[in-house]
Structures are given as C-alpha cells and as structure tokens.
Point group: C2
Chain length 206, copies 2
Amino acid sequence: MSTVTTDDHADRADRVPKQDRSRATRQRLLAAAVACLAEHGWSGSTVSVVAERAGVSRGAAQHHFPTREDLFTAAVEYVAEERSGALRALFPEGAAGDRRAVVTALVDLYTGPLFRAALHLWVAASNEEQLRPRVTELEARVGRETHRIAVELLGADETRPGVRETVQGLLDMARGLGLANLLTDDASRRDRVVAQWAALLDGALD
Amino acid sequence: MSTVTTDDHADRADRVPKQDRSRATRQRLLAAAVACLAEHGWSGSTVSVVAERAGVSRGAAQHHFPTREDLFTAAVEYVAEERSGALRALFPEGAAGDRRAVVTALVDLYTGPLFRAALHLWVAASNEEQLRPRVTELEARVGRETHRIAVELLGADETRPGVRETVQGLLDMARGLGLANLLTDDASRRDRVVAQWAALLDGALD
C-alpha cells in the first residue's frame, strides 16, 4: 500500500510540472500564431513559421496542433477569450451607468493586433473551404458572448423593442471602426464618433 | 489644307474604335480583377490570372497596367466609382426625407462582391508595403466621397454639433455590417439593425 501511494505521489509530482510545461508551450504557440497572423496574414502563417517564432520544435507544435487550421482557430479563440476576460476585468463591479466608458472599452476590443489577427482569419476563411466552417462557428460563439457582455455592461433591457438591435448595431459600428483603423491610425476621429454615439445610445437605452 | 483635313479625319475615324476597344479591354480587366480578388484574395490574384479570366493577353494586360498594384488599385477605384454612381442613381431627385431607404442603400454599398474585393485589398495592403500607400490614399478619397453623398441624401446639417460624427458612425456601422456578412448571409439580422438605427438617426438629425 505505502509503495503504491509513494509511486502515485512521485508520478503526480513528475506529471504536474510536465503539464505546466505543456500548457506554457501551448500558450507560446497561440501567442506566436496571433502575432504572425496579424503581421503576415494567412498566406504567410504556417505551423513552421509559428513554431520558429515561439521557439518550439515543429514536432512539438504538431503534437499540440495537428493542422494549421487547428492552430489558427485555437489562436483566435484564445484571443477572443482574453478579450472577453479583459473587458469583464475593466468593470468588475459593473459599469455603474458610465455608458461612454463601456462604448469606449467595447470599441477598443476591435482595434489593435488582436482584431487584426481575427480579421486575417475571417478573410482567409472566406476563401478557404477547410477554414470556413470552423471560423464561422467560432465567430458566432464569440459574437454571442460579446453581445451578452455588452448588454450587461450597458444595463440594456432587451425585453424592450429595438434595444437588442441597438446593441447589435453598436457592435457592428465597433467592428467597422476596427476596419477603419487597419491602414491608418484613426484614433482621434474614432474618439469623436464614440462620444457622439455613446450620447445617442444613452438616449435610446433609457 | 484639304489634304491635311482629310488625313486628320481618316486618322480620327481609325483612332476612335481603337480607343473604344482599348477602353473595353480595360473595363474587362478591371471587372475580372475585382471578381478575382473577391473570390481568391490577394495571394491568388496575379496579373496573369486576371488576364486569362478577362480573355486578354498578358502583354495587353501589362500595357494597361504595368504592375499588379496598378491593376488592383485601379480595380477598386473603379468599383468605388460604380458604387457611388449607383447610390446617386437610386435617388436622382434626392431622398425626400426617406432616411430608412438611404440607410438601407448605404449599407448595401458594403455587402456583396464589391465590398469583398475592397476588403481583400485593405487586408493585403496592411501587410504589403508596395500596396499600402496607394490603398490608404484611395480609401481616404472614397471615404470622403461616400460621406459627402451620405450627408446630402440624409439631409444632414453638418453645421450642428455632433451631426458629422453621427453620419460617420453610421458609415462605420455599415462597414461593420459588411464584415459581418463575409462568412454567412446576415441579411435578416442586418435588416432589423438598419431599421432600428435609421430610427435613431432620424431622431439625432432632426
């Protein structure tokens, strides 16, 4: 009995750091995949390129992600989760009615390298049949989650007619602002648009 | 004198159909470039592929467009002009206060293969240094023109504070709706968002 327990314990002690290492490798690969997709687009983003960037062997990368599609959809899913988490963390006690701050934070989700990586994946998926169903499913899931968070933080009552569509339109606007930021730094125009629409939204939601 | 006139006339008679043929070839190349970009993305769109699709020799294509960048920025510019023209043609007498119809028409500019081609060009330009300055300049020009048309058709008074940003936000939303339509047919959700935002806009502009 005591031998078994000891063995079991030794096994676990050995296993835990291995799992940690494995998780750290996976995270490094995902972060490298996102950076690669944002910088080089789909055509420049292969498993080998990402593995090299992450400092991981190609074999280890393929152990975690057997195909290129596995790697990149996992990467964008990881990003989406990070973004949702970051948004919730900004308002741990709720937004306390500061809708302008919420609109600003929502719009921020759609600028920067994370949105850029997602955009590359969407555009690639529109032409790559292997990628398309997975990215479509992922997008629907991420979209629902973002909508849920937005409704909650804005204190929007979706039982009232038009409120659901108002929030949807706001998220569409945020996506469009992200696209407008792709080629140039659009921050100062964006701030003015956000200020104005946050005011309109306030009127529409109350 | 009479000889010169005759020669001149003969020259012109010969030249005009040649110009027509040349213009027709150019248009065929531009249309093929847009279709190619929408279907295969930047990486699948070369001058040779477009020339073949247009039924034009590679040499003739290069006579019109010496580089791939020339061809694709010209193609997207052509598309942008067609889109603006189509929008103006919808309301030849002005929109007579029907803002919902205007919002619907504006949003329609951002769905379909023409927006898809432009999107591929933007995304490619974000990673291709040769393409980026030209596409950025083109986008700024197209953006100003679309904004001007929107202000006019919506009967928006931009001297009033916030009106300019209201119209800008609407066009950002239209762009975001175009992006949402990339992977799935988003038409029925889009109709509801448009109806709601047209109502918000009506309140904001009056």
